[in-house]
């Protein structure tokens, strides 16, 4: 075989392999995430790959930080601001690239040897590449497609996970803030009782015991307030971390004073099942895994039989004396034979992968239904409980407060009882806020469950 022709053939082969391989472009991948998880990214996921892009993101972040951050603002801010998210995208870029690599032939190795033995010159040119790669290229190409798909889906799930965590953290910090404010009111009511009691004792209207009893509420309320303050601080810091805010950005961070009000109507099961049918990431992933496993199995049956390491060795011997050269060329084929029966093992392993993938898909599909049911039920219960607080408990509490003031006016109850009742009513308001928080957590979890990331449910509980 003529070297030149051979080389040309190889080159051609390489070009075919390289150009036809699953090339991965991160922008395309991100577009895909923006499409698949539109409910989460709202199409705003970007990987800044140069300084200009980075600058643009920074100014978007500054804009978002200029006003109280709504839940979707928080998500947007993370998308444009979080270095961790950018790192995750970049890391996945390389993962995607790795996956794509499996669809390519290993780069051929070309070596040139020049050996002079006395007057004999031996030139050895070696162009070596994995023959099996070459032989199984179509198969590998398909496998790579599936591996890319898998990596793509995993990346989407990671993005969904991060956004869901931001949503939960945002709800937590708002609820913690409100809780803290009401804990402060309870504290103030107790403080007033305590100070009034001290004054009462001073002028001789209260015994020490009576005064101390009032003071106990105060101390108790102070403990609760301290705990609520810490809760606010740590939930805020958690959000700051998820948003990837710098110290100066963190200082700027403004949040709404109150959790959003309950929506007029809850999402219906029809809406949810329709949305869930749009394509759940977990099922898509299990499918991709199965596809890949199946492909891999087909491929690996050959590999396990003959894991061939193919080297092409072209030898040219020439004798200078004769002025002619004897060139001999041939294939140097090395076949690696299974010494032990590990090929079978490998084969069995691959079969197990497929089997596992099949079962995993089945498990995922059946779990998806159950998880969706649970998540929706959690959401609905939280909605109903919060609505009950809004429509029933809080109005009752308001009436109790109003009637207590009337009773106080009529000397039917004293100021200490009035303040104690006020503390009670504030605690009811706090319970209502807790219910409202639970709803928004369940809402975030349901969004995640619908798209196929049900583990958010546990974090929301």
């Amino acid at each position: 075989m003529n070297w030149a022709r051979f080389a040309a053939g190889i080159t051609l082969l390489s070009i075919v392999a390289l150009s036809g391989c699953a090339r991965v472009e991160i922008d395309k991948s991100i577009d895909r995430i923006n499409k698949d998880a539109a409910d989460f990214t709202e199409g705003k996921l970007i990987l800044a790959q140069n300084l200009d892009q980075r600058k643009a993101l920074e100014s978007m972040a500054a804009e978002l930080l200029a006003k109280p951050l709504s839940q979707s603002d928080a998500v947007q801010l993370a998308l444009v601001n979080s270095p961790a998210l950018q790192a995750m995208l970049a890391a996945n870029w390389s993962k995607l690239a790795d996956a794509a690599q499996t669809g390519r032939i290993t780069n051929p190795v070309f070596s040139f040897e020049r050996l002079v033995l006395g007057d004999e010159l031996e030139l050895t040119r070696l162009l070596s590449f994995n023959l099996l790669d070459l032989l199984t290229l179509p198969q590998r190409y398909g496998l790579a497609q599936h591996r890319i798909e898998e990596a793509q889906l995993r990346l989407t799930i990671e993005v969904v996970d991060l956004i869901s965590q931001i949503r939960l953290a945002w709800v937590n910090v708002l609820a913690a803030q409100q809780n803290r404010n009401y804990a402060e009111q309870v504290f103030e009511a107790a403080e007033v009782s305590s100070r009034l009691a001290r004054e009462m004792q001073r002028v001789g209207n209260f015994s020490k015991l009576q005064r101390v009893r009032q003071q106990v509420f105060y101390s108790d309320a102070a403990t609760h307030l301290a705990r609520a303050e810490q809760e606010t601080l740590s939930s805020r810091e958690q959000l700051i971390r998820l948003l990837g805010l710098s110290a100066s950005q963190a200082e700027e961070l403004l949040l709404p004073k109150m959790l959003p009000t309950l929506p007029e109507n809850p999402r219906t099961p029809q809406e949810i099942s329709k949305a869930a049918n749009q394509g759940r990431l977990d099922i898509k992933l299990a499918e991709a895994e199965l596809q890949a496993a199946a492909k891999a199995q087909g491929l690996n049956q050959i590999t396990s039989l003959t894991d061939i390491e193919l080297g092409i060795r072209q030898e040219k011997r020439s004798t200078r004396n004769a002025g002619s050269s004897i060139s001999g060329s041939g294939y140097d084929i090395g076949v690696q034979l299974p010494v032990f029966d590990w090929g079978d093992m490998l084969r069995a392993g691959m079969n197990a992968d497929t089997l596992a993938a099949v079962n995993r898909l089945e498990a995922t599909v059946s779990a998806a239904g159950s998880e969706l049911r649970e998540s929706y039920s959690e959401y609905r219960t939280a909605y109903d409980v919060s609505k009950h607080y809004r429509d029933e408990v809080l109005p009752l509490s308001r009436i109790i407060s109003e009637e207590n003031v009337l009773r106080y006016n009529g000397m039917l109850t004293g100021v200490f009882d009035l303040l104690a009742e006020t503390r009670e009513q504030i605690r009811t308001v706090m319970a209502a806020i807790s219910a409202q928080k639970q709803f928004w957590l369940a809402d975030a979890a349901l969004h995640a469950a619908v798209i196929g990331h049900p583990k958010m449910l546990e974090q929301s509980l």
């Binding site: 009111q185 103030e188 403080e191 007033v192 003031v405 039917l412 100021v415």
Partner: protein, 469 residues
């Protein structure tokens, strides 16, 4: 209808009373038509135009039940029924009573009268009537289970006896007695003497009322029937001040007030400006040797007292129970004493939490009467009453005996506030007050404590610095 009007006319029915058929007409054919009272005001005396004459009583915030004569028998018809009683303006109670009100109407008869009382039960449970203090056949005593079967709902029983003893009596149920009395079932009974009686004086004005007590949660309507001690409403004839009418008399009238006590505690009844004699109980007239002048007479539980005096001093004379919490309306017993506690700074903080909060009590409770703040619905303020010089700051068992020179005989209407002759009313001193001399005790403690307390408690008396507000 015509016959009814004639009947009403015949019995000289006071304003507000209406005859009503409550039971099936046929079944009622033999019964006197029951007369129902719709108003809580004091009705003029029912002047008898049948039977033996007598000088009728005036029931404070109540009325006398008309009767009919049938073959020489005075027939009354009491209907036991749920009623709505206005206990004070803008405060109504859901009570049980007789013939439209609680208490029931006063029954007035004359010593020796044969009396037949039809009792129709319109309550959801059985009842009976006991004629407290009367001489009568045992089977007419009205003790359910003991002397008669209970009167079941919808049934009518007949009591008949001769009013043997002149005096002041009461009537009340003796079936599920605790509940039915807690719900307001009671009434007064007067047996006038047939002839002049050596121990029963003839008077110009003869008032009667029963004392009763209720526990009605402010903002609600129905008494708590199981309350035995913590009553929050102390009433006369199921009325509380300022809902109790004044006792209006002509100067120099001889006045009798008959007071029955169907509460669970005693009431020291106190009259201002006059001395009175206790001239009788439900046991009859007291012997003159036992009578002495006093200004307060205790009326114990289940007792009846008659007091008599000559109203010779013109004016508006307070007349009340001397237990000061009985001259208060519903209130809490747990309200802290805030006198001397400066709340101003704290009030601002409280207002943050309770926007409608008002500071009260740091000078005393009188602020409360003055402020007139909104209180729960259907509740009488603890202390109130608009007098000619400001708030009277009273409630419960409080009224006024109004003595007027020109109050015409037989006129029981309210003459308005007394106009004090110049120079006869307390006035503010215009000069500069001098420091009063203070007593300095030179006494040694006769029997000192065995162990001195380790720290001497220093008590300081706070005097008001300024009354400007």
């Amino acid at each position: 209808m015509n016959s009814r009007r004639q009947f009403l006319k015949a019995v000289g029915l006071a304003g507000g009373a209406v005859a009503a058929s409550l039971v099936n007409r046929v079944a009622m054919a033999a019964l006197p038509e029951p007369v129902i009272q719709t108003k809580p005001e004091t009705m003029p005396p029912l002047i008898p135009n049948q039977g033996r004459p007598y000088n009728p009583v005036v029931t404070l915030n109540g009325w006398t039940l008309p009767w009919r004569m049938k073959n020489g028998v005075k027939e009354f018809h009491l209907v036991a029924e749920p009623v709505v009683r206005e206990m004070a303006p803008s405060f109504k109670a859901h009570l049980w009573g007789y013939n439209g009100q609680s208490p029931g109407p006063t029954i007035e008869v004359v010593e020796g009268d044969r009396v037949r009382i039809f009792v129709t039960n319109k309550l959801p449970e059985h009842t009976s009537i006991h004629w407290h203090g009367q001489r009568l056949p045992n089977g007419m005593d009205g003790v359910s289970g003991l002397t008669q079967p209970p009167i079941l709902p919808g049934k009518t029983f007949v009591y008949e006896f001769i009013a043997r003893r002149p005096g002041t009596f009461m009537y009340h149920p003796h079936a599920d007695e605790m509940v039915q009395m807690a719900m307001g079932m009671m009434g007064s009974w007067v047996t006038h003497p047939r002839d002049k009686h050596p121990l029963i004086a003839e008077v110009d004005r003869d008032f009667i009322f029963l004392m009763n007590a209720y526990d009605i949660e402010p903002g609600s309507f129905t008494p708590k029937i199981m309350t035995m001690l913590d009553f929050n409403l102390w009433s006369w004839n199921s009325r509380i001040f300022p809902g109790i009418d004044s006792l209006n008399v002509r100067q120099n009238d001889k006045v009798r007030i008959r007071i029955g006590n169907l509460t669970m505690t005693n009431h020291p009844m106190h009259l201002h400006g006059h001395e009175f004699l206790v001239t009788g109980s439900d046991g009859g007239p007291t012997p003159p040797s036992s009578r002495f002048y006093e200004v307060t007479a205790d009326v114990a539980v289940g007792q009846m007292r008659q007091i008599e005096f000559v109203a010779d001093e013109e004016g508006d004379w307070a007349f009340h129970c001397h237990k000061s919490h009985h001259t208060m309306n519903a209130m809490s017993h747990d309200v802290a004493t805030l006198i001397g506690v400066d709340q101003r700074e704290l009030a601002r903080k409280i207002t943050n939490l309770i926007p409608d909060y008002m500071v009260m009590g740091e000078r005393g409770m009188a602020d409360m009467a003055a402020m007139e703040m909104p209180i729960p619905d259907n509740t009488a303020p603890m202390m109130t009453g608009d007098g000619p010089f400001g708030s009277v700051e009273m409630g419960g068992m409080f009224s006024v005996v109004k003595v007027r020179r020109n109050q015409q005989p037989g006129n029981y209407s309210d003459p308005g506030w007394y106009k004090h002759p110049p120079g006869t009313s307390a006035y503010e001193f215009a000069g500069a007050p001098t420091e009063p001399a203070r007593m300095q005790s030179k006494m040694q403690q006769g029997m000192p404590r065995l162990h001195k307390p380790s720290t001497e408690v220093e008590v300081t008396v706070r005097k008001p610095k300024s009354t400007h507000h």
